[in-house]
């Protein structure tokens, strides 16, 4: 399996970027332009599919590099923040009752997404701020 490490990593990164970009577009479309398409069934299903690919690739990478959440701090942070991101995203697109609240959740979700990205780049729980130590 190690033989496919680079390809799997590329798939994982590609899925992360696609997932984030789609969330950004959906959030903007829904909250700034009041568009209906972000909640269309095909768009939602594409989002689920990308996230499933992302998850599968992440599990494969974990097994290849032998680093796991609750054993390695940066992965623990990623996992916890992922849950936070999902909850914030759900409120940003669906559950928050007012547009203002949705925008707030949307911005918070993007911030969390960005932080997760830097944690992954740095392999450090402080992510962007790891250089400060």
């Amino acid at each position: 399996m190690e033989e496919f490490y680079l390809q799997i990593r590329q798939v994982h990164i590609g899925a992360v970027l696609t997932s984030g970009a789609l969330f950004l577009l959906r959030g903007l479309g829904l909250n700034l332009f009041n568009a209906a398409w972000p909640m269309w069934a095909p768009v939602r299903y594409v989002s689920y599919t990308i996230d499933t690919v992302l998850l599968t690739a992440a599990l494969m990478l974990m097994t290849i590099v032998h680093q796991y959440p609750f054993m390695h701090a940066w992965l623990t942070v990623k996992l916890v923040l992922l849950v936070v991101y999902i909850v914030l995203g759900s409120f940003a697109l669906k559950r928050a009752k007012t547009r203002r609240a949705r925008l707030g959740f949307f911005a918070a979700a993007l911030l969390v997404f960005g932080y997760i990205y830097y944690v992954a780049r740095a392999h450090h729980p402080l992510g962007l701020f790891s250089g400060l130590l």
Partner: protein, 759 residues
């Protein structure tokens, strides 16, 4: 004589004759089975193994999970090798190496083709020769073979122990370290493995095929499919086509006859059914179904993950607590247990609903049986864990530990307890149904069939009690398939057909007479292939050619009704829209439609893919087997179990609004997840293994070399998407059921119901 009476007579004649032939086949297997020798000696007079050692070795093998860790004669788990094929290959390589070193001074693999062919020719002649002496019960082997046995035995003793040199191989086979801590037990395990390999390579007296009908494929010893396998495979396809043509003619004739129009009820008739205390008491059965189902999925994920990390689960040393053989045991056992519990609960719910009578202490009986089921699950699982972790004395293993027979793994005590539980269930269902059976109504025939299938479910579990600790392997397999095939694939099918038809008659959507004839006819068609179809599981388990022929022919007929399952599905779909109130039953009916779909794909197509003897010769124990297993067991019986649970819940809580979104998500996740699991991993991996088995021999398709290839790893990982989607389906179904109790939302009464008085 009316047509229902004619069909009853036909059914009785069919069952009597089919079971007579099945019992006769058992006798043929008893006569033709490979002998267990009293002694195995070398030509120089050294004793290699004794009967007691071979039998004790089998007990050791059973105690570590038996068929749940690797397989024997192709029956069992898929990650570790088939031990018979693996032993055979290693033994013949060891013999060839001895000859090559003696004659050419190099190992066999380094000889040129001509030299290799010469040694192979000698090997075939010697190793296939049957040297068993029935007078003395002795097998005499050449000295070089005795040496080879010692070499292979040393390998297995290291593998099943804690030798670090074998650590990587153990990981590849998903075995825990020190699987068998006792050194003598490890040696005895080898005795049993050797005997199964001996049966696979030794020709029957006076014949040129081995006791296992030349299974497994092993080019080095000339194990290739015998002529009878080609012949009966071709005939099985012919019988299938003939059966399809015959049933097609029947459908064309009967479907052109217009049904008499009948008035459909204006309101749901099931809403007028009085929900008795015992019917309410069945609610907890459905909670247990849900709990067992969720645990089963979790164990399935663990079991699948062991294929990747061997002993770890995302870095955690899980194999030290729950090794592969225990997670697989529980995964397979829970599949049967939760589905069975769903059906038992359905029987207990339906019986008073049918008769309209609640016998005295019925609710008490339902509650007692429920407690018994919990004790059986917890007790048998605890015993199995103790056995696999080798914390149980071997002498206690058969009664309290792990029997090692796939789907019949629980200790004998627990099997008896379950059998008694089923008898209690039968009594409870029977006494509640009795008033309806006595009443001379039009429904009596269909109720009788429902009751008879319940009797069969109760009694036929008794097949699991037909073998003992040292019963011959071929005979254990014969009875085990009575249990797995006849119980699960036979009588549950009749039970389900009768229940679904009966439900539609109770809903007033089907005239009773039409339903009765349809159910009786369907039962005859199912049982015509189903009873003797049992034998197709026994092609390579020491059965003679006539048994193989019967198995091939009749199991092909099992597929015939599945070819026309579209008729049944269409009728159910049509009935689901027959009245406005049928929308209340949309999701039970959708699950029944899924049953029809997976019956065609999982049982019919994937089942027939591996069914003819020639196909199964190469495919048995490859990933094409679980392709059929998962899609048929969950696709058909699992979906049916869920459909029946939903139907009962609708009746038990008639006034609640159902969360359609959860059910819709659950339904599609189950189907898409199952399809993903089948098409992304099991089918492609099975096909790759098949090509490897045909080109290089069966041992190679199951070997660590093959299974640890990067591409195979990648295919195993492809299970994650399907499994994840499937698990989401189970969780949403769980949320739906929990919501009925925890967050019930009542629906407003319909106008007709405002004026209706409930009886």
């Amino acid at each position: 004589m009316n047509s229902a009476k004619q069909l009853w007579i036909l059914l009785i004649v069919l069952l009597v004759s089919s079971f007579a032939v099945l019992l006769w086949s058992g006798r043929e297997i008893e006569i033709a089975k490979p002998p267990v020798p009293e002694r195995v000696i070398s030509e120089s007079g050294q004793t290699i193994y004794t009967r007691a050692e071979i039998e004790r070795g089998r007990v050791v093998w059973q105690s570590i999970g038996g068929q749940q860790l690797g397989s024997i004669w192709g029956h069992g788990g898929l990650v570790a090798p088939d031990w018979s094929a693996d032993w055979l290959h290693r033994e013949v390589i060891a013999i060839l190496d001895q000859w090559a070193e003696a004659e050419y001074g190099a190992p066999w693999s380094e000889l040129n083709e001509e030299q290799q062919n010469g040694l192979q020719g000698r090997l075939r002649a010697r190793v296939r020769q049957n040297t068993y002496d029935p007078e003395t019960g002795t097998i005499t082997l050449p000295d070089e073979r005795a040496n080879a046995i010692r070499t292979v035995s040393t390998h297995y003793e290291g593998l099943f122990g804690a030798d670090p040199a074998f650590h990587e191989l153990r990981e590849g086979y998903a075995m825990r370290n020190d699987t068998i801590p006792d050194a003598e037990n490890r040696r005895l395990l080898g005795a049993f493995f050797w005997w199964t390999a001996w049966a696979a390579v030794t020709e029957r007296p006076g014949d040129t095929i081995t006791y296992t009908n030349n299974w497994p494929s092993e080019p080095l010893v000339g194990n290739r499919p015998p002529a009878s396998m080609f012949l009966w495979s071709a005939f099985s396809v012919t019988f299938l086509l003939a059966g399809i043509a015959l049933l097609g003619w029947h459908y064309a004739r009967t479907h052109s006859q217009k049904e008499e129009p009948h008035d459909l009820p204006k309101v749901d008739p099931m809403r007028s059914v009085v929900v008795t205390p015992s019917m309410i008491a069945t609610g907890k059965y459905f909670w247990v179904v849900l709990a067992l189902f969720l645990v089963q999925i979790l164990l399935g994920a663990l079991t699948a993950h062991y294929q990747v990390e061997g002993q770890l689960v995302y870095g955690y040393e899980m194999a030290e607590i729950f090794p592969y053989s225990i997670t697989r045991t529980w995964h397979t056992q829970l599949a049967v247990l939760w589905i069975a519990t769903a059906w038992l609960g359905t029987g207990l719910y339906m019986a008073p609903a049918i008769s309209g009578k609640e016998p005295k202490f019925q609710a008490l009986g339902v509650n007692v049986l429920w407690v018994c089921l919990l004790i059986i699950v917890v007790g048998s699982f605890a015993g199995q864990w103790l056995a696999v972790m080798q914390r149980l004395n071997l002498d206690q293993n058969f009664w309290w530990g792990h029997q090692g027979w796939e789907y019949a793994d629980m200790g004998r005590f627990w099997q008896w307890f379950l059998f008694i539980g089923l008898m209690i269930w039968l009594i409870l269902v029977g006494r509640a149904l009795l008033p309806a059976l006595r009443a001379n109504t039009e429904s009596r025939s269909i109720i009788a069939l429902f009751f008879l299938s319940a009797v069969a479910i109760g009694l036929f579990y008794g097949a699991a009690l037909m073998w003992n600790e040292h019963t011959h392997l071929s005979i254990v397999e014969y009875w085990r398939w009575w249990l797995v095939h006849l119980w699960v694939e036979g009588f549950f099918e009749v039970f389900a057909t009768a229940v679904i038809a009966f439900l539609f008659t109770r809903l007033g959507l089907l005239p009773v007479k039409t339903a009765t004839v349809a159910v009786l006819f369907a039962t005859i068609v199912f049982m015509a292939g189903g009873v003797l179809g049992t034998l197709h599981h026994l092609y390579f388990a020491g059965s003679p050619t006539p048994v193989l022929a019967l198995g091939a022919s009749f199991s092909a007929l099992e597929v015939v009704p599945l070819a026309y399952i579209g008729f049944e599905a269409y009728d159910q779909w049509r009935l689901s829209g027959a009245t406005p109130w049928m929308r209340r039953y949309k999701w039970p009916v959708m699950f029944f439609l899924a049953v029809a779909f997976w019956n065609l794909v999982g049982a019919g197509l994937f089942g027939f893919l591996i069914n003819p003897p020639l196909s199964l010769y190469y495919m048995q124990g490859l990933n094409l087997t679980p392709l059929h297993g998962h899609t048929a067991l969950f696709g058909v019986y699992g979906m049916l179990g869920i459909g029946l649970v939903l139907f009962c819940l609708r009746g038990m809580k008639p006034d609640l609004v159902w969360h359609e979104g959860l059910l819709k998500t659950s339904f599609w996740c189950f189907n898409i997840g199952l399809a993903g699991m089948a098409l992304l991993t099991l089918l492609p991996l099975g096909v790759l293994q098949l090509l490897a088995a045909i080109n290089n021999g069966y041992w190679f398709a199951r070997s660590e070399q093959f299974m640890q290839q990067p591409f195979v790893d990648l295919l195993i990982w492809m299970r994650v998407p399907g499994d994840t989607i499937f698990a989401i389906g189970a969780l949403t179904f769980g949320l739906f059921v929990a919501g009925l109790w925890l967050l019930p939302k009542r629906e407003p009464p319909e106008p007709e119901e405002l004026t209706r008085t409930r009886p």
